[in-house]
């Protein structure tokens, strides 16, 4: 018998409010691999929407609430299904560095928190989640996960090991989808042009499924595709890794000759 890892679920407000299927998938995958999960109900939102709109003072209490909530349970790790929201949690450390009551807590939060695919691949050391999806798909690489969290490879590695899934590279994968939190609603003209570019690139892949690791980006791109009548299925990567799982297929990195791919990958752009 080995000690169970205890994982605090950081649902993100978007998943909490709108997309229970993503949260469910994440919890099921984590529990499948032996994590005991816990969901502190005091959590609300990481504060990014208001903070990134410039309301930095008003948002401090949102940070406090989220810290208090996520640290209210004893857990080894805090895991969330969004690179952007996770990056925000990690930024608390710098924002609150001079806050006598919260600086240390923000540091603890920083040390414990991981984005979902990062946690699966880099902490649990899983290479193949045992999932199967018979489809062609393309992946939207979200900006904050790539550039703030600096995790640009874990989702690709995990998707490469989903049985029957054929991944098609997305042209201009580096370009933002135009979500940008409240930017999408404040500057709809520009955001529309950006998301249209993204949709055009996705349509050009002829993929059946659009996969992403950030539900907010998927909500934006999917919302535009639905408005345009583009046929596609949108899945969060947690849903893909939770799809038709056969435990016999599960592989841990340590049991293979797979070399861990560094988070920053190759390339300098």
């Amino acid at each position: 018998m080995h000690l169970q890892m205890k994982v605090c679920i950081f649902s993100t407000c978007i998943v909490d409010l709108l997309f229970p299927n993503v949260g469910k998938a994440m919890v099921e995958v984590l529990e499948r691999f032996g994590c005991e999960t816990v969901f502190p109900k005091g959590q609300v939102c990481c504060g990014q929407p208001t903070y990134n709109s410039g309301y930095s003072k008003e948002t401090i209490k949102t940070f406090y609430n989220e810290i208090d909530a996520l640290l209210s349970v004893e857990a080894d790790y805090i895991v969330g299904p969004s690179g952007s929201c996770v990056a925000m949690l990690k930024e608390y450390k710098d924002i609150l560095k001079d806050d006598p009551a919260y600086a240390q807590k923000a540091q603890i939060l920083y040390d414990k928190t991981y984005e979902f695919t990062q946690f699966i691949y880099r902490v649990l050391g899983i290479l193949d989640c045992g999932a199967q999806l018979d489809a062609t798909a393309t992946f939207h690489r979200s900006c904050h996960m790539t550039r703030l969290l600096k995790e640009r490879t874990a989702p690709f590695v995990l998707l490469d090991h989903v049985k029957d899934l054929k991944m098609i590279p997305l042209n201009n994968v580096q370009l933002c989808c135009g979500f940008g939190g409240t930017f999408s609603a404040k500057e709809p003209e520009i955001s529309e042009a950006m998301v249209d570019d993204k949709v055009n690139n996705i349509v050009a892949t002829k993929a059946q499924v659009l996969i992403g690791a950030d539900q907010a980006c998927l909500m934006n791109i999917g919302g535009r595709m639905n408005r345009r009548g583009e046929k596609i299925k949108v899945m969060h990567i947690a849903e893909v890794l939770n799809h038709n799982v056969d435990l016999k297929r599960v592989k841990y990195v340590k049991d293979t000759d797979h070399q861990m791919v560094p988070a920053n990958g190759s390339g300098v752009f």
């Binding site: 109900k41 948002t59 570019d197």
Partner: protein, 496 residues
């Protein structure tokens, strides 16, 4: 032209830009081409992040000791027989330059491309002097001048918004009779401008880097016009932003290598020149050499969160990766400094948010700019910093958004209110949702919201006018309720 290039509102400029399909295609193509070239050049150099560390270090160091380096530089210019003038404002600078032009009875001025002279509207000021004519000699700037001083749209590629037919039309007005082949038009410009060069009596250049310990000016170019500007006229005036300084040739070398790769994906541009006023026994070059060192609002950045923008080396890489620039082009910004660096710099130079207050909001904070910046300016963080200053210090907001955001911030910091919001959102959006067929699978199990009434807040319109919104699940079906049930079931299994 000055810093501000347009009297239209930001929204009007965006609308105008969105109609310009040629511009969008040209910018997209240019960004993609530069992406390849830049990436290849950086990879070939190797250890790009180590080089960026040097770039950042050098720039931060000189900004920290700016007065000391400027003092050393100006002493060396004087020692070499040159003239230094420190200009606090654009007016000081143009007055000094006009004074030199008058003293020298200048008839013909050649200029090589310089953002800072555009910033201080030097061309228009000089042309007020009777009997003086002036020629922008960089191919792009020449095209803009001949097109009735059209506005530049990129700090490295000013005519990105023009196609070859438009350039041909411009050149036809000055006697070009050939086709629209860029090379043919380039040869025409060469010939046209060469004559002017030979007769020019004043040359005006910008400055990529000023070398403190020997008083030389470093210019990095491709066409050769800057070197002709520094070889032919008997008088040269260099106009430099005060932050352009480096300690010695060695640091200039590092920055030139970062600049060329970042700006155009070249290892070095065709011409990289270190130059000062001519020595007595040399046979060409300026006999009279002036350097104007300009503040013009740059010092507003000192000792503020915006100080890192002074690190900027004007490579334009941030423009070339920016997804917003890709859509609205340079003219969307209304400043001669567009793109991410422009969003940060324009309000700083302007000394407030009156003219450029909207720019920091026209950003999705994707961070591509910060990632590509060769001197590691945290551009997207500084854009956010502008928003914070606008909201916290100045309480600038022109819409209902303030109320909405404050409500959101109250809602998101109070779990009990959030619970209410979960319920409220479901109920509030319910009347507008519909179960019409969806082309996108797996995103709209409960239906979608694709229309909201006119009176809905602008933020909701901003979303729904462009995209469909997923209808929130019934409260009992949302994630936290599912999780509750799930845990109970699990415990049930364990207990049973």
């Amino acid at each position: 032209m000055g810093l501000k290039t347009s009297n239209l509102t930001f929204d009007e400029r965006v609308k105008k830009a969105k109609q310009d399909k040629f511009m969008q295609a040209a910018v997209g193509k240019a960004q993609d081409a530069q992406f390849e070239k830049r990436t290849r050049a950086r990879e070939e150099l190797g250890n790009w992040n180590g080089w960026r560390d040097l770039g950042e270090q050098i720039r931060q160091h000189v900004i920290k000791y700016l007065p000391d380096y400027l003092e050393e530089f100006s002493a060396n210019i004087e020692k070499n027989g040159g003239h230094v003038y420190f200009a606090k404002t654009d007016v000081d600078a143009t007055n000094y330059i006009k004074q030199v032009a008058k003293e020298k009875q200048v008839k013909k001025v050649v200029k090589s491309k310089s953002m800072v002279t555009t910033e201080i509207d030097l061309d228009k000021e000089l042309l007020k002097l009777p009997g003086l004519s002036l020629m922008e000699t960089d191919l792009a700037e020449f095209i803009l001048q001949e097109d009735n001083w059209d506005e530049p749209t990129h700090i490295v590629f000013p005519t990105l918004h023009k196609n070859r037919d438009q350039v041909r039309e411009v050149f036809q007005k000055i006697g070009y009779t050939g086709d629209n082949d860029p090379e043919h038009m380039g040869r025409f410009a060469r010939k046209y401008l060469r004559q002017y060069f030979m007769e020019a009596d004043l040359g005006i250049t910008g400055c990529n880097f000023a070398i403190a310990d020997n008083g030389m000016i470093n210019l990095v170019t491709n066409e050769g016009n800057a070197d002709l500007t520094m070889a032919l006229p008997k008088t040269q005036i260099v106009v430099m932003g005060m932050e352009r300084i480096v300690p010695s040739l060695k640091e200039a070398e590092v920055l030139d290598n970062l600049l060329c790769r970042s700006a155009v994906g070249q290892k070095l541009t065709s011409y990289c020149t270190f130059s000062a006023g001519k020595l007595a026994d040399e046979l060409d070059g300026p006999e009279d050499f002036h350097v104007v060192i300009l503040d013009n609002g740059r010092s507003n950045a000192l000792n503020t969160a915006f100080e890192p923008i002074l690190q900027c080396i004007r490579c334009g890489a941030c423009l070339n990766v920016c997804p917003v620039y890709r859509q609205i082009g340079g003219q969307g910004y209304g400043s001669i400094y567009p793109g991410p660096m422009g969003k940060v710099l324009s309000p700083v130079l302007d000394g407030g948010y009156e003219n450029f207050g909207e720019l920091p909001y026209a950003c999705s904070l994707c961070g591509a700019c910060s990632e590509t910046c060769p001197v590691k300016i945290p551009l997207h963080e500084l854009i956010l910093e502008h928003r914070k200053v606008e909201m916290n210090k100045l309480h600038l907001d022109h819409s209902l958004n303030n109320v909405i955001f404050k409500t959101i911030s109250v809602g998101t910091k109070t779990p009990i209110l959030f619970k209410g919001a979960l319920l409220g959102e479901h109920l509030a959006l319910k009347p507008f949702s519909n179960k019409k067929e969806n082309s996108v699978e797996n995103l709209y199990p409960e239906g979608k919201v694709d229309k909201v009434p006119k009176i809905a807040p602008s933020l909701i319109h901003g979303w729904v006018d462009v995209r469909d919104l997923a209808e929130p699940p019934k409260v009992k079906e949302n994630f936290r309720h599912w999780y509750d049930r799930h845990q109970k079931e699990k415990r049930g299994e364990i207990n049973g």
